[in-house]
C-alpha cells in the first residue's frame, strides 16, 4: 500500500510532498513487533486487517444515536488500541531508513514502556542531523542560522482521522517538550529541534512528518526553565508554525 507522504514545517506551516511511502505488511509487521510497546503475536496480520484491507466491519454513523450503544459489537469489532499503538511506533523507523538513509546504529528506540507513568522521553532518538537539510529543504524557513543537532527526538503516532491526527501531533509535541526539558542545561543548542511522524490510517491515508524547529531559541530556553506542563501553548509560540 502506497501512502501519501507529506512533510510540513511545524504543525501548521508550509508543506510539500515526497514520493509516497510503501507500508507493506512485511515491513510493518516485523518493525512494529520490534518497536511496539504491546505484546501482539502477529502484527503483520493485524496490520493487514486494520489498515490495509479494512476488514473490520462498520456501519455508517446514525445521527442522534449514542456513540457507545450496546449494538456496536453486532456490527463488527473495533481496533485494539495496543495494535494501532504498535503500528504508530514503527512508522518513524521506516521513514528514517528509507528517506533519511539512516543506518541501524542511528535509530535508538528509547520509549520507556512504563505503564501508568508519564513518559519522559519520546519514542526514538535518531542521529539524523546531517540528512535533515536536504530532505526538508523545501520547507525550512530561510534564513535559518541555528546549527542542526546530531541527535533528534522523534515521536511516532497513528490515528484514524484528520482530527485525531491533529490531536496526536499536539500530544507528540508534549513528548518533545519533556525531552527538551531533560537536556536544556547540558545540550541547550538542541532544544527546539524534533520530528513528529504521524500516520492517518483511514482513507485517504497519509504519513505526515512535522519538522519542529525553534523560532526564538533564547526565549524558548528561558520559558522551558519555568516548566512545560500546562504551559504548552506558551512554549509552542517560540517554535516555527506550532
Amino acid at each position: 500500500m502506497d501512502v501519501q507522504l507529506k512533510i510540513q514545517l511545524g504543525l501548521y506551516g508550509n508543506s510539500a510532498y515526497l514520493t509516497p511511502i510503501r507500508l507493506d505488511v512485511g515491513s510493518m509487521g516485523s518493525t512494529s513487533s520490534w518497536a511496539g510497546s504491546y505484546h501482539i503475536l502477529a502484527m503483520g496480520r493485524h496490520y493487514d486487517d486494520y489498515i490495509m484491507t479494512g476488514a473490520l466491519m462498520s456501519l455508517p454513523p446514525i445521527s442522534g444515536f449514542p456513540l457507545a450503544h450496546p449494538y456496536q459489537q453486532l456490527a463488527g469489532k473495533i481496533r485494539a488500541g495496543g495494535v494501532t499503538g504498535n503500528i504508530g511506533e514503527c512508522v518513524a523507523a521506516l521513514f528514517a531508513r528509507r528517506y533519511l538513509s539512516a543506518q541501524l546504529g542511528q535509530i535508538a528506540h528509547i520509549k520507556p514502556r512504563r505503564p501508568f507513568r508519564q513518559n519522559k522521553s519520546p519514542d526514538y532518538l535518531m542521529n539524523i542531523g546531517s540528512s535533515i537539510s536536504s530532505v526538508f529543504s523545501g520547507i525550512i524557513p530561510k534564513p535559518f542560522q541555528l546549527t542542526w543537532p546530531d541527535w533528534w527526538p522523534v515521536e511516532s503516532k497513528a490515528r484514524n482521522s484528520d482530527n485525531a491526527s491533529s490531536e496526536g501531533r499536539r500530544d507528540a509535541l508534549k513528548q518533545l517538550f519533556a525531552y527538551w526539558s531533560l537536556i536544556r542545561n547540558s545540550q541547550s543548542p538542541a532544544v527546539g529541534f524534533g520530528l513528529i511522524v504521524g500516520l492517518k490510517y483511514q482513507p485517504p491515508r497519509q504519513l505526515r512528518i512535522s519538522l519542529i524547529l525553534p523560532k526564538n531559541h533564547p526565549t524558548l530556553l528561558t520559558e522551558l526553565k519555568k516548566g512545560y506542563k500546562n504551559r504548552e501553548s506558551i512554549l509552542r509560540s517560540y517554535l516555527h508554525e506550532c
Partner: protein, 221 residues
C-alpha cells in the same frame, strides 16, 4: 556511533528476538547507571539510562518467570531460553511455537553489516519462491491470477520448501523472522531436522562459517 548506542540498539533487537541472555549481557554494563528521574547530560546519557531501565525490567521479568517455573515443578518444566543460532554477523533465537510450528527471529550483532545482509537476502529470495503481490484473484478469491514483485522496499520475503517449509521475511530494520512449518505426516524427534534448514538459511545470508549452535529446541511458554 558510540559503543553504548550500538550496544543498546542490538539489545533491543535481542529483546525482540527473545534472546534474553544475550540482551542481559549487553545491558548489564548499565546496571549501576542511575534511573531517569531528572536532567540528562546528553543523548548518549539518555540512551544509557534507558538501557538501565530495560535491564531492570528484564531482571524483574526473570524473577517472575522463576516463580512461574517453580509452580510448574520438575514434572512439567517451563523453559526460559530458546535455541540460539550464531553466525559471524547474526544471532537468531529459535522457538517451537506449536507441535508443527517454529519461529526464528534473527538480528544483526554487527550493525554496519546491514547493506550486505539486505543484498544477500534479495539474492536468496531470487533463488527461491519470492513472495509476490497478487494483482488478480480467481472468482472464489482463493487463488491468485497474475502476480508481480512488490515495489521497492528495503526488506524482502521468500519461501523455502521442504519437509520444513520456511517463510522468511527480512525487514527494513534487518530483523529476520522465519516461520517454519513441519509438513511431514509424522513429527520428528530430531533437533537437527529442525535446526538444519534454519541454519542453512542463516548461512546463505551470512556466508562465513557458522560459528556455533547452543541449546535444544524448546517450546515457548
Amino acid at each position: 556511533m558510540s559503543v553504548d548506542t550500538n550496544n543498546f540498539i542490538v539489545a533491543t533487537f535481542a529483546l525482540w528476538a527473545g534472546d534474553f541472555e544475550y540482551a542481559e549481557t549487553l545491558l548489564s554494563r548499565y546496571a549501576h547507571v542511575p534511573a531517569l528521574n531528572g536532567a540528562v547530560e546528553s543523548p548518549d546519557d539518555l540512551i544509557r539510562r534507558t538501557s538501565a531501565l530495560r535491564l531492570r525490567q528484564l531482571r524483574q521479568k526473570k524473577g517472575e518467570f522463576k516463580e512461574l517455573a517453580a509452580e510448574h515443578g520438575l514434572r512439567n518444566p517451563v523453559l526460559a531460553n530458546p535455541t540460539v543460532l550464531v553466525t559471524n554477523h547474526l544471532r537468531g533465537a529459535l522457538w517451537r511455537t506449536s507441535a508443527r510450528e517454529f519461529d526464528l527471529r534473527a538480528y544483526l550483532t554487527d550493525l554496519t553489516w546491514d547493506e550486505s545482509l539486505l543484498r544477500l537476502a534479495h539474492n536468496e529470495a531470487n533463488q527461491h519462491e519470492r513472495s509476490l503481490e497478487p494483482v488478480e484473484q480467481t472468482n472464489s478469491g482463493l487463488g491468485f491470477g497474475d502476480k508481480q514483485p512488490p515495489k521497492t522496499t528495503r526488506g524482502v520475503a521468500w519461501t523455502v520448501t521442504g519437509s520444513l517449509l520456511l517463510r522468511a521475511q527480512l525487514s527494513d530494520m534487518c530483523l529476520l523472522e522465519v516461520n517454519g512449518l513441519w509438513t511431514e505426516p509424522k513429527l520428528t524427534n530430531s533437533d537437527e531436522e529442525i535446526k538444519g534448514p534454519f541454519l542453512k538459511l542463516l548461512h546463505a545470508l551470512d556466508p562465513d562459517l557458522v560459528r556455533s549452535v547452543s541449546g535444544s529446541i524448546k517450546q515457548t511458554g
